[in-house]
């Protein structure tokens, strides 16, 4: 089983990376781009657990380690491969 965990900066928090990338996209002529926000995407492979339990444990991993609740939000999707 695999899970894809997305960690993004909370709305409202400054995203210097996204800002810089947006600027250079403009300089490259991609004026249609109005905003860029950059986050992490983690591909987690898990040994066989019942789906529900896997989801509970993933939530715990995010709260504990994968995301920083003070400045980041997260969501994840579990899928079989």
């Amino acid at each position: 089983m695999r899970a894809r965990v997305f960690v993004t900066l909370k709305r409202g928090a400054l995203d210097p990376q996204g800002k810089a990338v947006c600027t250079s996209l403009h300089q490259l002529g991609y004026r249609e781009v109005t905003d860029v926000r950059i986050g992490k995407c983690m591909e987690v492979t898990l040994g066989g657990l019942p789906r529900r339990e896997a989801e509970q444990r993933l939530k715990a991993m995010c709260d504990k380690l994968l995301a920083n609740p003070v400045i980041e939000d997260y969501r994840f999707e579990v899928y079989e491969d």
């Binding site: 900066l9 909370k10 409202g12 928090a13 400054l14 995203d15 210097p16 800002k19 810089a20 600027t23 920083n68 003070v70 400045i71």
Partner: protein, 745 residues
């Protein structure tokens, strides 16, 4: 735009104001404040911005000196370092934000102090930091250390200012309140200094740098001006995220603008309390007023209220006053650096800051009375009842070991004495290619390109001393800073301090604070080092538990000739080892007592400032006379540990030494007892007579301890046989690896 809440006494209290302060505000305005005005006044009169509990005491600090160019009152203090160059430096705390989000908190702390420096027209060339964390077994400590260190590194490395020194201590009193004090120093040509003044009615007020978001609203007023409790969570503002890249652009653009004569009239960073603080302070300093159009402030988020815009603490922003003639040129420079610069208002002669938004006046307040006539409190102070208890130490109750090896090994790998290499290695301490003495010696040394000169920098504070005896602890902190500079060969020029304390509304805390200021004042007078600026951080208290009083001292010194710079480690086989100075070493208040016997009690040995100064002069003279090869401050860990450091701290590896120490009394006091006014030097045998001659001239005792050589450090006591004997190479490895192990979860 959302409608403002109605201003009531209750709302004022929620803003951290007292009833009296609210009445005073109404008096100053001649009417009740609007919502935006309430926010402005609350933040200006917050402890962090107004220094209401500390001002009257800070006034007693010595701020005069032959080399002083700018004392307290500006964004940073300035001293003359010769050759037409001045050095601007300052230390600031970012304690509360760093506890909430260690990485960003520390990063934006670095960003803030750097702005304080380049706002003066000085280019930052070195940073230091003084960090205090809780005990290693506290669940949050490792996380906080990791975050703070990467935060400092991430910002400082990126912007290209070397982090050349600092200190880190672990102590349970910081479990709920870590300390992140950052110091920075910059240099400028003497005739290019700038100040935070809004002079010249009619002049344009220009906002430059990042856009304004809802970052850290109430960061200063609520976070740094009240204790932590469960509620802090809910009070928590949007965490400020540092953007070192934008700050680097801002730094270059500001310096370029300030280099052109007459372009910039006044400039100030938007730090704590952002637009509010900068507009009011700049107008107040110039005795002018300002008219501000909030509609012209570049915003990052839609629908921000005037209240939010005035109180936002978004980073990487500056407020700048130009002239109608230079406005265009200023814009051009910021445009070159891809930064926004927008004229948000004009300087007036009304003495008031008038703020408009959407065509209506949202605030109209008198600048001077809010900035300068903020409330000042002579808070009650009282010596804690427990002070006598902690100072009382029954020595005979403490066992005196027969030999020192076990204790020396324990000290060597203890969290507060082991090597900091694994930390300072993640800081770029070499960028700008000026670093002559890197982290790892008593003081860092930075050469000044284009001259023969160099500067030495150090930060020091032993908060255990300060806890056990606040006034002596403060004197000792200044003395140690000066001693560290002397060991590097430098002459001290000035001091910046960062005074970290608990809740000032508690008489015991206020007593600790007043005692510390008195101690700093006495010592700074003795070393002729004016306090050119600094910072006060109160309310370092969680659930009623306060930190050890921690008055961090940052001291800057100078070399006329960079080649006289010195390091602490032994350099040559066969050199003689001497102890210069003297002091009655005692295990009271010592690191040894804490590490080996698990006790923190007694009074730190008192320092005679006159004898301390004489010692420093003697060591400098010996260096300049080419008589000594190394000098090391003998402080925490005592004589034995200091000797070990002389053997193992050199970058090229370990050396050995054969030592014989005289002295009566306890063996552990002899080996690990602490006392000020002691420096270990190494010197070529030929120079011995001249060294002793020279010391005599300064009435400084100098005692031969032994000789550098071999691969072991052996210490023999006059009485018995060898009391310490170890291979230095493995010791060095253990000493270097210890901190990583402590921090490995």
């Amino acid at each position: 735009m959302s409608r403002d809440p109605e201003v009531t006494r209750d709302l004022a209290l929620q803003h951290g104001m007292t009833t009296e302060e609210y009445d005073h505000a109404i008096e100053v305005l001649g009417r009740p404040p609007s919502y935006t005005e309430l926010g402005i006044i609350a933040v200006m009169w917050s402890e962090h911005c107004s220094y209401k509990s500390s001002r009257i005491h800070l006034k007693t600090l010595p701020t005069e000196g032959p080399r002083l160019v700018q004392g307290p009152g500006e964004n940073a203090g300035i001293v003359d370092v010769g050759a037409g160059i001045v050095a601007a430096f300052k230390m600031e705390s970012h304690n509360h934000p760093s506890y909430i989000e260690p990485h960003q908190g520390a990063a934006t702390g670095v960003g803030g102090i750097l702005r304080d420096i380049f706002t003066m027209g000085a280019r930052p060339i070195a940073s230091l930091n003084s960090l205090r964390f809780g005990s290693l077994d506290h669940p949050r400590t490792r996380y906080l250390v990791g975050g703070v260190v990467t935060g400092i590194a991430g910002y400082g490395n990126s912007i290209g200012v070397p982090t050349v020194g600092g200190e880190i201590y672990f102590h349970p009193s910081y479990n709920g309140n870590i300390l992140v004090n950052v110091m920075s120093l910059g240099i400028a040509r003497r005739d290019k200094i700038h100040k935070g003044i809004a002079a010249g009615p009619g002049n344009p007020v220009i906002y430059v740098g990042s856009r304004t978001g809802r970052d850290g609203i109430h960061g200063a007023s609520l976070l740094a001006s009240s204790e932590f409790d469960a509620e802090s969570e809910t009070k928590r503002p949007t965490v400020q995220v540092g953007d070192p890249f934008t700050e680097k652009q801002l730094l270059e653009a500001c310096l370029e603008a300030m280099k052109e004569t007459g372009l910039v009239v006044g400039i100030q960073d938007m730090g704590a309390a952002g637009l509010t603080c900068s507009t009011l302070e700049m107008a107040a300093r110039a005795g002018t007023g300002m008219e501000i159009e909030l509609d012209r402030v570049p915003l990052r988020e839609a629908e921000m209220t005037p209240y939010e815009i005035m109180l936002s603490e978004s980073q990487e922003r500056m407020l700048l006053v130009a002239t109608p003639q230079t406005e265009a040129r200023v814009r051009a420079i910021f445009d070159k650096w891809d930064l926004e610069a927008s004229v948000i208002g004009r300087v007036t002669d009304t003495g008031r800051v008038l703020v408009r938004a959407g065509g209506r006046v949202v605030a109209d307040v008198p600048a001077a009375s809010l900035a300068d006539d903020a409330p000042r409190y002579q808070r009650p102070s009282a010596r804690p009842a427990w002070q006598d208890t902690v100072q009382d130490l029954q020595l005979d109750a403490v066992p005196d070991p027969a030999d020192g090896n076990a204790a020396l090994l324990a000290l060597m790998t203890s969290p507060n004495l082991c090597s900091r290499q694994s930390i300072y290695q993640v800081y770029d301490h070499m960028v700008r290619s000026n670093t002559v003495v890197r982290p790892g010696s008593d003081a860092a040394v930075i050469r000044l390109k284009g001259t023969e000169r160099a500067l030495a920098l150090t930060v020091d504070c032993n908060s255990r001393y300060c806890f056990l005896d606040p006034i002596e602890g403060a004197r000792l902190a200044v003395a140690e800073a000066a001693r560290n500079l002397a060991c590097s060969g430098a002459v001290p020029l000035g001091v910046t301090d960062c005074l970290n304390f608990g809740n000032p509304e508690k008489p015991e805390v206020m007593w600790q604070f007043i005692q510390s200021i008195q101690g700093i004042s006495e010592a700074c007078r003795a070393f002729e080092t004016p306090v050119v600026g600094g910072n006060v951080s109160f309310y370092n208290e969680t659930e009623g538990k306060g930190i050890n009083p921690t008055p961090t001292i940052g001291m800057v010194g100078m070399f006329e000739d960079v080649r006289s710079a010195m390091t602490q480690w032994f350099r040559r086989e066969g050199d003689l080892v001497f102890l210069m100075g003297e002091g009655e070493p005692s295990i009271a208040a010592s690191e040894y007592l804490a590490v080996v016997h698990g006790r923190e009690a007694g009074r730190p040995a008192a320092v005679s400032l006159a004898r301390e100064k004489a010692l420093h002069d003697a060591v400098r003279a010996a260096r300049n006379g080419g008589l000594i090869a190394s000098a090391h401050d003998c402080s925490e860990g005592g004589l034995a540990f200091t000797l070990l450091e002389c053997c193992i701290t050199g970058p090229e590896g370990a050396v050995g030494a054969e030592i014989r120490i005289e002295g009566k009394g306890r063996l552990d006091a002899l080996l690990f007892g602490e006392a000020p006014t002691r420096i270990i030097v190494s010197a070529a045998p030929e120079g011995r007579a001249r060294l002793e001659q020279l010391a005599l001239g300064y009435e400084v005792p100098v005692r031969l301890l032994g000789k550098v050589g071999g691969s072991r450090l052996t210490i023999a006591a006059a009485g018995g046989g060898s009391v310490d004997d170890l291979e230095t190479a493995p010791a060095r490895a253990a000493w270097i690896g210890a901190l990583k192990n402590h921090l490995a979860s």
